[in-house]
Subunit: 384 residues, 2 copies
């Protein structure tokens, strides 16, 4: 018998992990597997960032930093925003990944029973953070008609006396869709009017292939932005992110950060200082262009095979595809595909409760050659 908190029954593992383990077993047995389930860029950290990390270590930069991060890094992050969206460096809090930023926000905001609205499908950890602090994640089903994003109208419809916050993710994992312009502005104004906090997950910012995606800070300073060095900057394993918060929240966030993290990784913070140089920025833009080419290949190829992708994904490196033409059990489909054709996908159930059985997520964090081979195998598999 174990002493187990009730919340653990509501917090789900990544279901793709079982699939990944099977993929590794197959690979260990000599099978070739095409990975289209991966949630991190296939590019390593840019060389100048690596070099800055090495220099920091050579200089013994191994002691704690302030809980909110190195002042120089907070300033550099602030400076990375467009002038019309730029925060004061004092509003920027450096965190151990975007995960750390979500912990600080929800820990600071949520009392037990407080509700948080999130899009379903969405990144599962976000709702689990809400549950972790005894809040109640309210999964709002979203469909192609709103580009799989919340709308001001949906926010209003699901708002209750207990609603305290709304989470947007743009570009979104798993759908790659964005919320921009008037739609974004509408949501911001609605959440303000209703007296809640809007949290915008911008960790895939920079990786977008359609119209420019502006930071939600273009429209308001009274919201929380979560961002990260993981995806655009290619620094997943370093575990470094940030949070931009309204000034009135920073003292509480600092206090909580002192207590639950002490600080983010010191070598990672020094390395990240190099991420804003023109050299690295042009490297990152070149990578973004490669992601665009992959999307431009994969999207029509999947549609050709019979996957239904009603909204063009504009960012991140994901395509969320309806696979109802082939199966009414996307998890089984993913297992069979792996076993019989050697292609790994993420089944819909990792992203919520709104028709997960009809959806799978493709990641194009893989080379164009591998994606082509994946599509070839997929074509054979669905033709059987």
């Amino acid at each position: 018998m174990t002493l187990r908190a009730a919340r653990m029954a509501d917090i789900e593992p990544f279901h793709v992990m079982a699939l990944l383990q099977r993929a590794r077993d197959l690979e260990a047995a000599g099978r070739s597997i095409i990975h289209m389930e991966i949630g991190e860029p296939d590019f390593p950290t840019p060389a100048p960032v690596i070099q800055a990390g090495i220099r920091a270590l050579q200089e013994n930069q191994t002691f704690y930093t302030p809980a909110t991060g190195l002042p120089a890094l907070r300033a550099a992050i602030a400076q990375s925003y467009a002038p019309t969206a730029r925060p004061d460096p004092g509003q920027v809090v450096v965190t151990p990944g975007a995960s750390g930023a979500f912990q600080l926000i929800f820990g600071t905001l949520l009392d037990p029973g407080d509700e948080v609205l999130l899009a379903d499908p969405g990144y599962p950890c976000n709702r689990h953070f809400v549950r972790l602090f005894e809040g109640r994640p309210v999964l709002v089903p979203v469909d192609a008609d709103s580009a799989y994003q919340l709308t001001a109208e949906l926010v209003r419809r699901h708002w209750t006396a207990r609603t305290k916050a709304v989470v947007l993710a743009s570009p979104s994992n798993p759908t790659g869709t964005t919320v921009r312009g008037a739609a974004l502005k509408d949501i911001i104004e609605t959440v303000h009017e209703l007296g809640g906090m809007l949290i915008v997950d911008e960790i895939y910012h920079g990786l977008n292939y359609g119209p420019a995606v502006e930071s939600a800070r273009e429209y308001s300073d009274a919201l929380c932005i979560v961002n990260s060095f993981s995806k655009y900057y290619g620094m997943t394993g370093w575990r470094l992110g940030w949070l931009v918060a309204p000034q009135a929240y920073v003292d509480d966030i600092d206090k909580l950060a002192q207590n639950i993290f002490l600080a983010a990784s010191t070598p990672a913070q020094h390395a990240a200082l190099a991420a804003f140089t023109p050299e690295v920025q042009s490297e990152l833009q070149a990578r973004c262009e490669m992601f665009r080419q992959r999307r431009d290949y994969l999207l029509p190829a999947l549609r050709e095979l019979g996957f239904n992708i009603p909204v063009e994904p504009e960012g991140a490196f994901y395509i969320y595809a309806e696979c109802a033409a082939f199966t009414d059990d996307s998890y089984r489909f993913a297992l069979d595909l792996l076993e019989q054709a050697g292609v790994a996908l993420t089944p819909g159930r990792d992203f919520g409760h709104h028709h997960p059985e009809r959806h799978v997520r493709f990641s194009y964090a893989n080379t164009l050659d591998n994606l082509k081979e994946g599509v070839r195998r997929l074509g054979e598999f669905v033709a059987r």
Copy 2:
């Protein structure tokens, strides 16, 4: 107006931070300050660990690891325990600092209202973690008669139907005292009998100057051990720790780690693999010997000045001293000492509610020369 969770009223900042800021301001204005408030070793990370970190970066080890950590590191940590206390590597979970380990344990265990017994004085973050997950930290006043540690008798006396866990810290921050042998065994058996979970904070293990301090795992496998590369291994800024849990808890802990951290820092994990080499171990033992010399100097010197230190501190790098001979307000005392004599201490209020106004914490994470100068200044100050 901010949307603020009730818990934020119960989570305190490190009060020493205000003092530290003032110390920095004084230093910036040219004043010499002797730092005896610091909670991290003054030694940098050992060179072979730094080198291993640099190699990892050169090899682009910048991607996510499994949520529970690199298998090789889990095995090396397991192997670092005495054979009689050695866990299975599968019980070892690598975490972002000991902070991460506490989050995983309390997140997994605590329902709202669940009580956790902790010694007062003690490290404040531990009780704040309990509060973070809506548990109720029960601060048990401890005094010199139990070496500032909980006892089986105290555990029994404070146990209620809602008590779920007990936290021990040995060696303790702020007191440097330990709980060993029969006293430790007694507590373990009592908590088992009462049906709770014992969590033993062993982050200062290795830094002990009296009789050997055994891991609590010598007596039981059915408890949680928190440890860290920060203090003994000199890796504070890397943010790397670990947790040893009973096997039945590991799946839940893994699931929570996936969701709230993804994983600990990859470069840090690769660097830490070098921490167990004989070369590093002998360097760490030499550092331990230097800490011992500092303690052996500072302890009688403080007693000589009139500080009351009834229990000999046996570990960590702290001396918890009663300063009632000089003041009934240790916070004021620390402020005045800083301002007038240029010595920084941590006031008792950072460690709980049991007579904080009569206590201060001295850290000897500073050179012997600096400690001597600190004592000289302190002597002049208290003689005024």
